[in-house]
């Protein structure tokens, strides 16, 4: 462990560690815009400039005459770093002024407001008084496809987006054109972004220059309540945060986990939360009636399910989108209630077992489009191939992304969990269940990592946790419990 001195305090660091991170660990905030731990260092914004000195041979510390950018200066043994001197503070004030002279004062209508680095740093390090009286630089905005809306007037040229595209997403689609004061960050003539990781552009933008089209004008950042979750979009297990207000999820953001997804998530995972609030999701118990599947009382739907379960000819299909806890409960339940029934897991066409799962791209995506394939296999669930001969009754448990196999040969299908109306059209009954946002639990990702996710919102409609539905199936009509 090496030692340096930050603002008069001795601080331990590991050689190679970034100065901004070393200071942060010691509780000293060095403000920055262009620095991002997941991207290369460019030292462009100049906000993180600090005073740096080294002890000479005589032991006296020799401070460097110029400010040094913390992001690009390697911390060395014995180094003296001063982050609060007059010179440093004047530079911070100056950088804030430079960044704001051409930035519109549109925080009241800007979606970034409340979680904006520019706004926060302006408040902390800027000046309330503005000396600029010249004409502001303005740009005509071009579109950037379905995910991202660009507002170039708000851009502070930190180039995080350019670096994300080139270094992480692997496509040099976001570029800086022209130069100097006229530099514009753009795609060619406003071409749609190609990467399917485009949402990250908005995450890393330190201002409201790049915002998510789907989130614009929908919610103020400060109204959102956050829950630590894990993406259920595939078997990668990217760490995410679900953000909701009044039981409506408004967006998904990545949480940093350097061992899983680093700082990023894909668009498929990011926008998967939209299915929670799909207008076609079956949110009340339903049974097949004269006019098709229709709303019903829980008791009626449970009775139908019990009928199938006790028929002696039941086959049970379990989506590999169930949490580990749910899959465990279900296993125990089936051992007791239908010990003879064949039980299979299902999920992604073409990915029958964990051994079929593999990386689907160079970054995060996996072939298995369900989150817990590996967890279910660990619990001993067997992969589904096709319905066994004579399987008249089918009970399907499913929580989200598992793709329903062809069940047309079955006489009776009862679904427990999350279904869309169009999927369940021919079902005898549906017992509505919870998406991952409505419950806490564990997923086991592709390399066996168990990750907990927290509930973000309350159950939607009349949907119930699987444990409750199982209890009803076990107890209704036995006098030991009631719906």
């Amino acid at each position: 462990m090496s030692k340096c001195v930050i603002d008069g305090r001795e601080v331990n660091f590991t050689p190679g560690q970034n100065m901004i991170e070393v200071a942060k660990q010691a509780g000293v905030e060095i403000p920055f815009f262009c620095y991002h731990p997941g991207l290369t260092i460019v030292a462009q914004c100049r906000m993180c400039a600090v005073e740096v000195g080294m002890p000479g041979k005589d032991g006296n510390v020799q401070m460097m005459p110029k400010l040094q950018t913390a992001c690009s200066t390697a911390v060395a043994e014995g180094m003296v770093i001063k982050t609060k001197t007059e010179k440093v503070l004047k530079n911070q004030k100056s950088v804030m002024e430079f960044l704001l002279i051409n930035h519109p004062l549109d925080c009241p209508i800007c979606d970034k407001s409340g979680e904006c680095d520019l706004q926060d740093n302006s408040y902390k390090h800027g000046d309330a008084y503005m000396r600029y009286t010249e004409e502001r630089r303005t740009y005509v905005d071009l579109d950037m496809g379905p995910v991202i809306k660009k507002n170039m007037n708000r851009c502070i040229h930190c180039t995080r987006c350019i670096r994300f595209g080139a270094e992480v997403a692997g496509v040099r689609e976001m570029v800086a054109i022209q130069r100097g004061n006229n530099t514009e960050i753009t795609t060619i003539d406003g071409r749609a972004l190609e990467t399917d990781y485009a949402g990250n552009y908005a995450d890393i933008c330190p201002t409201g220059s790049l915002t998510l089209k789907g989130f614009r004008f929908r919610k103020r950042a400060w109204f959102l309540k956050k829950a630590e979750s894990v993406c259920e979009g595939c078997s990668k297990g990217c760490n995410i945060e679900l953000q909701q207000d009044a039981n409506v999820v408004y967006r998904t953001l990545p949480r940093t986990n350097l061992e899983v997804n680093k700082h990023w998530i894909c668009d498929e995972g990011r926008f998967h939360f939209e299915t929670i609030h799909d207008a076609d999701r079956v949110l009340s118990p339903a049974v097949q009636g004269a006019t098709g599947l229709d709303m019903a009382a829980w008791t009626d739907a449970v009775a139908k399910a019990q009928g199938a379960l006790k028929s002696g000819k039941v086959t049970v299909l379990v989506g590999s989108d169930l949490s580990q806890e749910e899959a465990q409960d279900l296993k125990a339940f089936l051992a007791k209630q239908a010990p003879q029934a064949p039980v299979f897991h299902f999920g992604t066409p073409g990915v029958k077992t964990a051994s079929d799962d593999a990386a689907a791209d160079a970054l995060l995506k996996r072939k298995s489009k369900t989150a817990n394939l590996h967890g279910l296999e660990k619990l001993g669930y067997k992969p589904f191939d096709s319905l066994p001969a004579g399987a008249e009754q089918v009970l399907v448990f499913r929580a989200g992304r598992a793709v329903l196999p062809d069940l047309s040969k079955a006489k009776t299908v009862v679904g427990v969990g999350v279904f869309l109306k169009q999927e369940a059209q021919a079902f005898q009954a549906v017992l509505p269940g919870l998406t991952w946002a409505e419950k806490s639990g564990t997923f086991v990702n592709h390399d066996g990592r168990e990750q907990k996710f927290q509930r973000s919102i309350l159950p939607q409609g009349q949907s119930k946790a699987l444990s409750e539905s199982l209890m009803l199936l076990a107890n209704q009509g036995t006098g030991t419990g009631a719906a």
């Binding site: 460019v42 960044l99 600029y132 040229h157």
Partner: protein, 429 residues
């Protein structure tokens, strides 16, 4: 004739002796062409570097860094190829000396580069020439082809076992590519944006290989150093720590503008203007001197008795830069001039770093306003503060290049600025 000109000082500008085209034959017969190369190839690389160190040759591009020391930074062993890159971007306003070298004695540069290659163990060289110099690029191409045909370039040069390939690479209109790391990015097919340092080019330069970047004139001095020895070269300089002669570009309001080759530190600015360049146009009075390319802080007539070299100019708060002296006579408006200079730096800012991107344009806008008669009293303090907020805070030296002139003009011509502001128009018109 001025004593400084009486002495035989035309080494690089040998061509001045006879006003005609200089083919390879001239270089070989009249200038001992490629004899230094033959000599250097028989020397150990370190011995060549030592000779250059002894010569007190300092970079002629602007920074004045000791060339031998720069070469010494290149690691002996490198897993990646090493490169010699010639900075022929000559873009600091007021500078036009390298153009003459490339036009009249391109082989001097080529020979210098091959020797540099031998000294640092590099087999590949590029001449990064500013895009506008199309004629000079063609002349260099021809000269390089000649050098290949005579065995000075290519494999096994003069039977020494040393290889060296040389290519002319044209820029395309960007002042900032004169900054060595921006130049390297441009050479690699990227935007000419300066890089974060460290790593320095000596560690990771062109294509990530150890690279030495030297100005045209710097490299053109190398054959003389090798032929006549570092001590001889050093003794040419009339001030300490500056060896050789300097090509001085003089422009603006003088009777005889042009490039003059003079021993380093041989003259004062006054001597340069009045004795060598024939004085001010139309015998007007001197108003200002910009001594080292437009990025050098301005001097007033009472400051021109300074010896024209690196250290003396530094001592009075300005710089020699690329040795480009621009002379301004009494009736030219100081506000108009500094606005034009600032407009240039705003136009040439790459846009990467905040203070330069935003600050240069801001200063230009304010200066424009003052020139147009819309200035305010507080503008001068504001200009000085913006300049201070840029100076020393940017990623590369362009910020300093823009800030230094502004603060020097505002301080030294304060009255003229105030006259614009109070009179709401230019008092010179």
């Amino acid at each position: 004739m001025h004593p400084a000109l009486q002495a035989e000082t035309l080494y690089i500008q040998h061509f001045r002796k006879k006003d005609e085209a200089r083919p390879l034959s001239y270089y070989l017969e009249q200038m001992q062409g490629y004899t230094a190369l033959g000599k250097a190839l028989k020397m150990a690389p370190d011995a060549v570097i030592d000779e250059v160190k002894k010569s007190n040759l300092r970079g002629r591009g602007g920074a004045g860094f000791p060339t031998g020391m720069k070469w010494g930074f290149i690691p002996k062993q490198s897993p990646k190829p090493k490169y010699v890159v010639c900075n022929a971007d000559e873009s600091e306003p007021g500078t036009f000396k390298d153009r003459d070298i490339m036009r009249y004695t391109p082989h001097l540069l080529i020979e210098g580069m091959i020797i540099a290659g031998h000294a640092i163990g590099s087999k590949i060289g590029y001449i990064y020439i500013r895009g506008e110099y199309t004629r000079e690029a063609k002349l260099l191409d021809q000269a390089i082809a000649e050098a290949y045909s005579k065995g000075y370039l290519g494999k096994n040069i003069l039977g020494s076992g040393h290889d060296f390939d040389l290519t002319v690479h044209r820029g395309a209109g960007a002042y900032i590519c004169g900054e060595e790391t921006a130049l390297l990015n441009s050479l690699e097919g990227k935007r000419g944006e300066p890089r974060v340092k460290p790593p320095f080019p000596a560690q990771a330069g062109a294509f990530s290989g150890p690279t030495v970047v030297n100005n045209v004139e710097t490299l053109a001095n190398v054959p003389f150093i090798v032929n006549r020895g570092g001590e001889w070269f050093s003794s040419l300089g009339k001030v300490e720590r500056s060896g050789g002669t300097r090509l001085i570009s003089v422009s603006g309001h003088v009777k005889k503008p042009g490039v003059y080759e003079l021993p380093a530190g041989a003259v004062t600015i006054r001597e340069l203007i009045y004795d060598i360049c024939g004085g001010i146009t139309d015998d007007k009075k001197l108003k200002a001197v910009i001594p080292g390319g437009s990025s050098a802080p301005v001097l007033t007539p009472d400051e021109i008795d300074v010896v024209y070299d690196i250290e003396p100019l530094m001592k009075i708060g300005t710089m020699m830069g690329s040795a480009a002296l621009m002379v301004v006579s009494e009736d030219y408006c100081a506000v108009k001039l500094i606005k034009r200079i600032t407009k240039f730096y705003a136009h040439e800012s790459c846009g990467q770093c905040t203070p330069c991107r935003e600050g240069c344009k801001w200063m230009e806008d304010i200066l424009h306003r003052i020139e147009d008669g819309h200035g305010r009293e507080q503008d001068l303090a504001l200009l000085l503060d913006i300049a201070d907020n840029i100076n020393g805070k940017t990623l590369c030296a362009l910020g300093d290049a823009a800030a230094g002139p502004v603060s020097s003009f505002v301080r030294k011509f304060k009255g003229e600025f105030e006259a614009h502001i109070r009179g709401k128009k230019c008092p010179n018109v």
